[in-house]
């Protein structure tokens, strides 16, 4: 097999950037499946089309997802990849690894599969790329024994992920790594046994920089923030000034709310705290001198997803500030998210993401029924139309239920 030519793919071994072709070739040395993958891919490059068929249902005992079925379209020509499924392994929080763990992943994958992997998939999983149907259960069993579990697929909670957070970042407003771990464990059933109208994703970012892209890529986006005023260390400001850091032009002038003032004489920076929107810009630029406030937590936003069907949605604010504390086991978050999912489960149509359900039925209804208080932070601006639904029970109803022909006689 390996002797077959791949002139088109070979072109992609040139250039500075590391080459996936080289990687497939490395895997191909040990795996006939990877060798065939190379062939079919070369053909795709020549024909400019894929050669994979729709996945059938494949899986693991006790789980409803975690495996993506995949079949080549010409199994006779490519018998080794006639079945070429991927297994999604739930990554550790923050994609941190010790080499022992990584080697275990590799060894088991060498034993059972193609030897190709994505570190990581777009959602966050370790993607074990390519195995036979018969191997799926053994793969799971071995990985499970080594301390791994499956990630999500299908209409379930998908594998959650988080930014590096307090592990290495000065901006983290809550413990993203622990939140991701704890909450993943809390929702094992939701993750492993599809039960909802469609998929639901959670991403945890420690601050407004949103290094997981949560607002765009997760139905439930948890973005760190603070409630009080940011803190400025004036001595550190002076040090920046001494190093001729462009405080005025790079920081003050770009603060979106114009709430920072820099006094060149005194070399002091001041903030109008109530005007700051916590966008994190000034902190990003001067982390030695500016930091978040003391009262830290997260904003909960809901509804992010990509284009299919109703267009891409970004998540929007649902709870402006909630505590995210290890001590209380992320209770408020878990309670709120449970109510949100329940509502969606009851109201969502098949293959309707929660953002679409909220849009279809109305944010007002969603908030009322999930008992989340309406606050102006949830919107950029209020409605432009006057089409308000009124709770009829709160009105004086002494005439409204009457027959139209008698209208004249009421309201007198």
């Amino acid at each position: 097999m390996t002797e077959k030519k791949t002139p088109l793919l070979d072109e992609l071994e040139k250039g500075k950037w590391p080459s996936f072709v080289t990687e497939i070739k490395r895997a191909a040395v040990k795996s006939p499946a990877s060798a065939e993958l190379l062939q079919v891919l070369e053909r795709s490059y020549a024909e400019r089309r894929g050669h994979w068929k729709h996945g059938g249902i494949v899986g693991v005992r006790g789980y409803g997802g975690g495996v993506i079925g995949r079949y080549v379209d010409e199994p006779e020509t490519y018998p080794n990849i006639a079945e070429f499924h991927t297994v999604r392994i739930n990554q550790p929080s923050g994609f941190f690894y010790n080499t022992k763990t990584l080697r275990t992943i590799c060894d088991l994958w060498e034993k059972h599969g193609s030897g190709l992997t994505n570190m990581h998939g777009s959602t966050g999983d370790v993607i074990l790329l390519g195995c036979k149907t018969e191997s799926i259960q053994p793969i799971f069993d071995d990985y499970s024994e080594a301390g791994f579990d499956l990630g999500g697929s299908g209409s379930c909670l998908r594998t959650t992920n988080c930014c590096v957070g307090p592990g290495r970042c000065e901006h983290a407003c809550y413990d993203t790594l622990e939140a991701c771990y704890n909450i993943t464990n809390e929702f094992m059933d939701e993750l492993h046994r599809p039960m909802w109208p469609y998929k639901s994703k959670i991403k945890f970012s420690g601050c407004a920089n949103d290094c997981t892209g949560a607002i765009a890529r997760a139905d439930i986006s948890v973005i760190g923030t603070w409630r009080d005023s940011l803190r400025i260390d004036q001595n550190a400001i002076k040090e920046y000034a001494a190093e001729e850091f462009p405080i005025q032009s790079a920081v003050v002038a770009k603060c979106p709310t114009h709430c920072l003032t820099y006094n060149k004489e005194t070399q002091e920076l001041s903030v109008v705290a109530e005007d700051c929107t916590r966008c994190n810009h000034c902190i990003n630029l001067m982390p030695k001198a500016i930091q978040a406030g003391k009262e830290k937590g997260a904003t909960l936003l809901v509804g992010g997803k990509s284009t299919i069907v109703q267009s891409a949605f970004m998540s929007s604010v649902v709870v402006p500030f909630m505590k995210m504390e290890v001590e209380d086991d992320f209770e408020e978050f878990k309670d709120t998210v449970r109510r949100i999912w329940e509502w969606w489960d009851e109201n969502g149509k098949t293959r309707e993401r929660i953002g679409e359900t909220i849009f279809r039925l109305g944010m007002g209804k969603f908030l009322r029924e999930t008992e989340i208080p309406p606050v102006p932070q949830q919107v950029f601006r209020p409605r432009a139309n006057p089409y308000v639904f009124w709770n009829q029970e709160e009105l004086d109803q002494s005439g409204t239920a009457m027959d139209g022909s008698e209208v004249k006689n009421y309201n007198k």
Binding site: A208, D210, I215, I223, T225, R227, P256, T257, E274, D275, T277, R278, C279, T299, L301, G303, F313, M314, S315, S316, V317, P320, F359, L361, G362, M363, G364, K365, L367, R368, P374, V375, P376, Q377, Q378, V379, F380, R381, P382, R383, A384, N385, P386, Y387, V388, F389, W390, L395, D396, Q397, S398, G399, T400, M402, D403, G404, S405, E406, V407, N411
Partner: protein, 353 residues
């Protein structure tokens, strides 16, 4: 002589005073020597003064005749109305300006509405003439303008303030892009007069008229059924059929929308946004409405930068901050749930409290 079809409106050229005919298209700049008076200066050096006078818009022919008398005396028999229904006396001869102003004052006319002021309120028919109003038009305007009069005959606001009033959701009063929009709203579903429907309503059109699909045909009854839960009381069904009576004296009233504008100066035109979903129809002087509007205006005056329209100010500080500053209660009713709701959701994690 027989009536002529399609002769079109009178030719405006016959309506222009000599000073305009001579300086048509040659105006170079203007000044506002005092509230209510515009001085336009032509390239030729000629000047014209316009004196802006409030009108209740709903006027008697005698009101108009009175205007004519004044225009004959001071304006060579010419005057105009503005796009906000004010009267403008056009004074070509500067010597006549002060006498005109004196006479206007003597006769109790209200001069103002220029520059950074509140001008007349664009409004509609209300209980005077329309069949769908949820509030009156002229009465509310009168009450509000009486209350805000100090801002009509002065120019002490941060910027122009343009108000509109519409007595129902058809919004004939152009409230949807006003600094402050006063909108008559119904709050209960229509009551169906099945007999009337059977007599003359085209049921498919009626069903189609409902934006939310709340109306469905009821073939058995040869009428329709309204799903009250889906109705948001827009009254469009009533426009289609008199059998869908929508008014409800106990529950009709006024909503306040703010922050719209139409000029392109500085910022793009924008829609008004609802900040108060309901105020009662406390005729004859709507005290809740006049107070709510005054409070908003005073907040704006106290906080805006010079030159900042109401909506520009709110957009700068953020709507969430407007609510905390104004103390107006925020409720889910203010959150859009109609077709273009999505663009109003805060898709970002940066906001104030």
């Amino acid at each position: 002589m027989a009536a002529k079809l399609d002769q079109g409106p009178p030719n405006y050229k016959e309506m222009l005073p000599p000073v305009i005919l001579e300086n048509y298209g040659k105006w170079k700049y203007h000044e506002i020597p005092r509230p209510g008076v515009l001085k336009h200066v032509s390239e030729t050096g000629a000047t014209m003064h316009s004196v802006r006078v409030a009108s209740p818009r709903l006027v008697s022919i005698d009101f108009v005749r009175d205007l004519c008398v004044i225009a004959d005396e001071y304006c060579e028999g010419f005057l105009r109305f503005t796009t906000r229904n004010n009267v403008e006396f056009l004074v070509g001869d500067e010597a006549k300006l002060n006498p005109l102003l004196a006479e206007l004052e003597a006769k109790g006319y209200c001069v103002g509405g220029t520059g950074a002021s509140i001008s007349n309120i664009i409004h509609t028919q209300g209980w005077v003439h329309c069949h769908t109003p949820a509030t009156d038009a002229s009465g509310v305007v009168k009450a509000v303008m009486d209350d805000l009069y100090e801002y009509f005959d002065s120019m002490k606001l941060p910027a122009k303030l343009k108000m509109g009033l519409a007595c129902c959701l058809n919004m004939c009063g152009s409230t949807h892009c006003s600094d402050i929009g006063i909108v008559g709203v119904h709050r209960t579903p229509p009551r169906i007069d099945h007999d009337k429907i059977r007599k003359g309503t085209e049921i498919p059109s009626l069903v189609a008229s409902c934006p939310t699909g709340a109306i469905r045909p009821d073939p058995k009854n040869k009428s329709v059924i309204v799903n009250n839960d889906k109705c948001m009381y827009c009254g469009n069904c009533y426009t289609m059929s008199p059998a869908m009576e929508i008014y409800d004296a106990k529950n009709d009233g006024i909503a306040i929308l703010i922050g719209g504008k139409v000029s392109n100066a500085r910022s793009a035109p924008s829609f008004s946004r609802m900040v108060i979903p309901f105020l009662p129809n406390n005729a004859p002087r709507w005290p809740e409405t006049t107070k709510a509007i005054r409070d908003i205006i005073e907040l704006w005056i106290a906080n805006a930068h010079k030159g900042e329209r109401l909506g520009e100010w709110v957009e700068r500080i953020g709507w969430e901050r407007f609510f905390s500053l104004s103390g107006l209660p925020f409720s889910d009713m203010l959150i859009d749930d109609y077709i273009f709701a999505r663009e109003t959701f805060r898709t970002g994690a940066a906001f104030k409290y």
